[in-house]
């Protein structure tokens, strides 16, 4: 059963009863909320994700609710609780969807140590994965959103989850976070793309989430291996330019964007070395999305920039 199979009343009931367990790639996430904003976000953005109403355990148990009765009715706010902790300050109720996504990022980044976790958009084509490890603001999610509308399968716009022993990449497809001008850019690029509402976050940025392609969610069980590394860099006005990286630099870049390679010690290091060894790496400076997408496609088709 998927979220899209539920009526609004069923979804609301399961969320209130803490019997809503979402399967997101390898993770079971149990959610509890009475907030209509959370229900709406799930119904729209997680439509294709499977749920398990009978699961007797979960990797992450998250509650996202009003912080108190007063806050519920006077300037409604949302507060996320994970494992009895509240990692974020309360935010306006309209921020519930970004808070849920930030909470999931926080859980995976801090606790999913069964994987080597890299901050990277990750996509697949022809059985090989494209990794785009980069910090926020590099244009990673924009390029990722554009590529998934051009035949690439979404594994994640936020993480590469690598089995440290085998090197297999495990998909964890979720809504794609877009900010500021990128929202309109992707809306024009892919008129059929479905977005949640645009909201202003606590850093005064407008953020909206794009529904992940249903096919990517359905194919969450299909793993693959690293095929290419592209380090995107959005530079206003720049023509698309790809520059090969040395393997040593690619290894450093993977490590810089990894949450936990050192947690895995020698195994984590060896795995990053193996990825840098097997995947040709380039930096990609771009400003125009069509040129950026073409450059990535060229790399995937020919193995060269």
């Amino acid at each position: 059963m998927t979220v899209g199979d539920l009526s609004d009343a069923e979804l609301c009931g399961l969320l209130r009863a803490q019997r809503f367990t979402l399967r997101i790639g390898p993770f079971l996430v149990r959610l509890r909320s009475v907030m209509s904003e959370v229900q709406a976000a799930l119904a729209l953005l997680y439509r294709a994700h499977e749920i398990d109403t009978e699961a007797d355990g979960a990797h992450f148990v998250i509650r996202l609710d009003h912080p108190g009765l007063v806050r519920r009715f006077f300037r409604a706010q949302a507060q996320l609780t994970f494992d009895l902790r509240q990692p974020f300050i309360p935010l306006p109720a309209s921020m519930a969807a970004p808070m849920l996504e930030a909470g999931l990022n926080w859980c995976i980044g801090n606790y999913a140590h069964q994987f080597l976790v890299i901050h990277s958009a990750t996509l697949e084509r022809g059985g090989r994965a494209l990794l785009m490890p980069a910090p926020p603001g590099s244009g990673k999610s924009t390029l990722c959103a554009a590529l998934v509308t051009r035949g690439w399968r979404l594994l994640s716009d936020e993480f590469a989850l690598v089995d440290p022993t085998t090197g297999i990449l495990v998909p964890v497809p979720r809504p794609i976070a877009l900010k500021e001008g990128s929202i309109d850019v992707i809306a024009r690029w892919a008129p059929d793309a479905v977005f949640g509402p645009s909201v202003v976050n606590n850093e005064d940025e407008t953020v909206a989430y794009m529904q992940p392609p249903a096919r990517s969610v359905r194919d969450s069980g299909l793993t693959c291996r690293a095929g290419w590394i592209v380090v995107p860099q959005y530079v206003a006005g720049a023509d698309a330019t790809t520059t090969p990286m040395t393997r040593a630099r690619a290894l450093m870049h993977l490590a810089d964007n990894s949450f936990n390679y050192n947690f895995h010690g020698r195994v984590g290091f060896d795995r990053l070395v193996a990825i840098a060894d097997q995947a040709p790496s380039v930096t990609l400076r771009y400003s125009r999305l069509d040129e950026g997408v073409d450059a990535v496609d060229r790399l995937a088709q020919t193995g060269a920039p």
């Binding site: 040395t246 393997r247 040593a248 450093m252 947690f263 020698r266």
Partner: protein, 90 residues
């Protein structure tokens, strides 16, 4: 200026994992003790590799690594010390 230590060493050479690809100048070293990864230029790689084999004084290093000039050697030693990869021999 503090006096130069008489000899430098790598406290636990077995904790350093080196990675190098043929045709590339730079080496990567992973320090299992700290969990840190470092990108090293050829001079730093040569010094660290030499000290991982055995402790050495600056004069020893200058004699065995004569491709590195004196001021560069001092800078490399200071950098490697700052990264916790080498230290003065007690």
């Amino acid at each position: 200026m503090p006096p130069r230590p008489p000899r430098w060493h790598v406290a636990d050479p077995s904790a350093l994992l080196f990675q190098h690809w043929p045709g590339e100048d730079e080496h990567v070293v992973f320090n299992l003790r700290s969990g840190d990864l470092h990108l090293l230029n050829p001079a730093a790689t040569a010094v660290l590799g030499r000290l991982a084999e055995a402790p050495a004084s600056v004069d020893d290093l200058r004699a065995s690594l004569n491709q590195i000039d004196a001021s560069a050697l001092d800078a490399v030693l200071e950098s490697l010390d700052g990264l916790g990869l080498i230290g003065p021999l007690p």
